[in-house]
Amino acid sequence: MNSRIDEKHEKLHTLNRRVGLFLRAGTIVSLVLFLAGLIIFIVSGTPHMVALTPISSIIHDLLILNPASLVTAGLIIILIMPLVILITALAHFIVTRETRPGVVCIVLLVMLAASYVLVLK
């Protein structure tokens, strides 16, 4: 009985470590992009009050080091991090066959998807 609990604990700790690693990596990449964008804003004389870059042109604009695109890319990365947490957790609960937390993950995923649809409408 105790060894089963320990095993469950260990698996949960593995999930925690994995999620922590993803979050730290995502935050650092995002901040580096923000910093790069800010430096280019200051030195290039680009008008300051420009809007975020549309997703359709972000790759092209990143290649020409458009500061707004760099910041937009950083923003996209940081905004998908919670989704990364959720998908990692869902995969973990499917593997460990934990029904209730798995169902919670699916419900939350549906909620987030519904909110995206609502936003983009």
Binding site: F41, I42, V50, V71, G74, L75, L86, V104
Partner: protein, 289 residues
Amino acid sequence: MPADVNIWILAGTGFTAGFLGSMLGIGGGFLIVPIMTLALGIPIQYAIGSSLVSIVINACTATGVYISKHMTNLKLGLLLACTLVPGAVAGAFLGAKLSSTVLTIIFGVLMLYVAYSMIPKKPRKLTEEQIEAQKLVLEKSHDRHAWLDDSYFDPSVNEEISYQVHRPVTGMVTGFFGGMISSMLGVGGGIINVPVMNQLMKIPVKATIATSSLLLCFTTMTGSLIYAYNGYVLPYLIAPLCISVFIGARLGATIAHRVHGKILTMVFAVFLILTAGLMILRALNVIGG
């Protein structure tokens, strides 16, 4: 909207917000929004959008640290997020539709409430019978949601702290309003989540703060997305803000234990009351600006 903003004031605001926010565990929105609107003349919707993005960075940083130390109750966090997310969507839509005057007044009133809640109060005394009755009710209902129970290692007492989660349904209902207020006003929402989880759900304070950080990731992400889609997030405003919030939060977390908490809380409460008063008076056109 001004054609340009002073980047150093913005960075200073972010640094102070991150620093105080991580020390007091309430997120930085209560500083960022008023300073951006009062000192920099930025319309409140842009201030809220920027504030939400900076809180996502702050929350992801804190969650990354807490979850690696196994202090976050991931299952509980995901469960509460199921109602927080719809609340955040509702709040962001309301925030984008309401006029600046109405938003400013709501924000000012909430700041006054936060200031009031920070003033230390005497705990309500319960009789032995009341305490026993409460325990019995909690034990009876606990079995259904024992899967949410968790534990973490607390280095300050050098032992593993195991705890049970009580009243998850109440937590979910309250969470909806927490999410709504968070994205409507560009604040973290921790000021609602933390007392609910700690007082109502009986979760130890360290696990509460860690789980609240995880919740902030979901609520502020949803709110940020809606504000960004409506054009209220500008790259030049969020870049310096997020970088300085990150640096301030890291520094605040490092030296938090060296500062006398009571003094800091009182100073912050006075600051909130003054700023709230200024915001309400300006919204009502009593003072110019």
